[in-house]
Symmetry: C2
Subunit: 338 residues, 2 copies
DNA sequence: GCGTACAACTTATGCGCAAAAGTAACCGCC
DNA sequence: GGCGGTTACTTTTGCGCATAAGTTGTACGC
């Protein structure tokens, strides 16, 4: 790789002059030499050594994208098309702004932060749970952080979060079920934290507003680990007659459940109505097509990246951004209101 | 961030000694000082500045993962869970080996290569089409490159490819169809290059070996662009009665087609049998569950990364690695042999 | 008791770049 | 005609690290 020094030597001038041309410092260089340098640069296809530049400038032009997953959920997470769409949105946005994306997948916040400070990453986008330990570590690290779908109260004090109005999303879809005559409505999820909690809250609120009492037994807990999911699904299917509808916390679970239900001869939506959340390919291609809450994942990625870019420029940003959702009515809800 | 220099100063020794401890050069440092330094390093939570290290060593510890997609296929590609699983496999492998992953998505090989040389990336994993132009550019760049699913004859002369025995995969599944009495078998794809060509070849070979003549009209071309796919699907569904089975080049297309078929009241597998290729979530969760050819995408990613790592160590690797596939019989093929 | 070998260091150099500080020539101006 | 200001440069410095080369001090063999 050719260096500025070498170019300067061949052109018989100083490295600073070459550097100034590269940085477009018009006022420092005469038109004549500028053209000469520019032509030469083109000829040799000069590419700067970013390590040297970063070292000299104490910046990196890197944005870290850290996927922090609990080890047991890791596999499901990376399988989820959600993640790649998110990554696509982020990558596109930062590339246009002249940044590069370093991807990091781990279950250990401290490890992620070590990585981040090693590379002197300019900013971080964090997807996944941010635990208290994580917050403490990242606090020390003085670069901007934007979280995606992270609803830690503690974390919100320090970092921007880009998420959805999840509560409103389930609120609407549960209302849709209620409008179709459903009253025995279950909620299916694998945990009650973060996003799942917000969605559960919307569900409870809709029930409450319709005068339906929420019982603990309405909560169907699914165990996502691959060695437990079959058993878990079996239990849920057996209990399905207790309800006329099940609100699933994600399309992935909704479709997984529908497959399990159909395998047992339980028909959707005739025997039971199912709704999801996310509106991804899985539900769109399933038949019957899934009624769900739509979110635009790519926009989520773009928004997170944009927000981080703004912070990098020193602009203030709100510390909580909630993207809208909307109901998508398809074919998995039966009108039982008569 | 604390530097070696600062540590040396505080410990009242030279930077070389500190550096030697960091690099575990046992023979150079006495046990006494080594322990002293190690303790201090732990205390201040020292993290090396990679830019400086890379500059000094002329390496980068970065492995580039470039996703090169035709602009019109881009959206589908990044939507595909395939990609995130692949990325997951690669990331995990290189991280364990002390490398970092820089992700780059583009449709322009020259742009990718510029990126790669800017960062002085140690090696590159390329997923997607490698056109002749791309080969020329990457040739110049003297770092190891491993391609995934890239069947360019020209490219194979220069780079290792990690792929599947695609031909064998479709050969087997078409034989499965033939064994079930099918003779009017279509092949559905959106192009006839690379992977798609290999799968088509296996399909043709199976037909030939069974004494069935392949006709041009057996090839169902689907247009993947979102504004054309509906129209495309409609045409294919209308022609579906010409065949008793359709071999789809991917699970994504198989499931997309099944949805379109079901929407028109055409039943799978009663009216027509459908098979796919990949064995991903989409086909697993669909009902009827898709009969398909299994490939292990994560292993593909791991293999690509391992191969690159070997090349980085100077080891020789075969320039063509074909991972095995196997048939997964589920519920979308009807036995019509009587 | 002299040379050699080796352990345990330190000093000095350079990676490629950006930028602060320095220089030299020229121009205008009261 | 000396002085400030400008243009178009060059020289120098340092970012943080790795490492080649140099410097002690000491043990050991003969």
């Amino acid at each position: 790789m050719i260096t500025i020094k070498e170019i300067a030597k061949q052109l018989n001038m100083s490295t600073t002059t070459v550097s100034n041309v590269i940085h477009g410092k018009v006022s420092e260089v005469s038109d004549d030499t500028r053209e000469k340098v520019e032509e030469f640069l083109r000829k040799v296809d000069y590419v700067p050594n970013i390590n040297a530049r970063n070292l000299a400038q104490n910046e990196s032009k890197i944005i870290g994208f850290a996927l922090k997953a609990r080890a047991d959920k890791y596999e499901n997470l990376i399988m989820d098309p959600f993640v790649s769409v998110l990554i696509g949105g982020v990558e596109e946005t930062i590339r246009k702004a002249g940044y590069f994306m370093m991807l990091y997948i781990s279950s250990d916040t401290a490890e992620i932060m070590r990585h981040v400070s090693t590379w002197n990453v300019d900013g971080l986008i964090l997807f996944g749970m941010l635990d208290d330990d994580g917050i403490r570590v990242s606090e020390k690290y003085k670069k901007p952080i934007v979280c995606i779908d992270t609803y830690s109260l503690e974390g919100l004090k320090h970092f921007t979060n880009v998420g959805l109005d999840d509560e409103q999303g389930t609120y609407e879809i549960v209302n849709h079920l209620i409008a179709n005559g459903h009253r025995k409505i279950a909620f299916l999820s694998d945990n009650t934290k973060g996003v799942d909690l917000a969605r559960l809250t919307g569900y409870k609120k809709a029930l409450e507003d319709a005068g339906i009492k929420y019982k603990e037994s309405n909560f169907l807990k699914i165990r996502p680990r691959s060695d437990e999911i079959e058993e878990s699904l079996k239990e849920i299917c057996e209990r399905s007659k207790e309800f006329t509808a099940i609100v699933c916390v994600s399309d992935l679970y909704a479709v997984t459940l529908m497959a399990a239900l159909q395998d047992r001869g339980i028909s959707v939506p005739d025997d039971i109505s199912i709704v999801g959340f996310d509106d991804n390919m899985l539900g769109q291609l399933h038949r019957p097509a899934l009624t769900t809450v739509h979110q635009d994942v790519k926009v989520k990625g773009i928004t997170a990246a944009d927000t981080l870019l703004k912070q990098l420029k020193g602009e203030k940003t709100p510390n909580q951004i909630k993207l809208p959702t909307h109901l998508v009515v398809r074919d998995t809800v039966k009108d039982i209101s008569r």
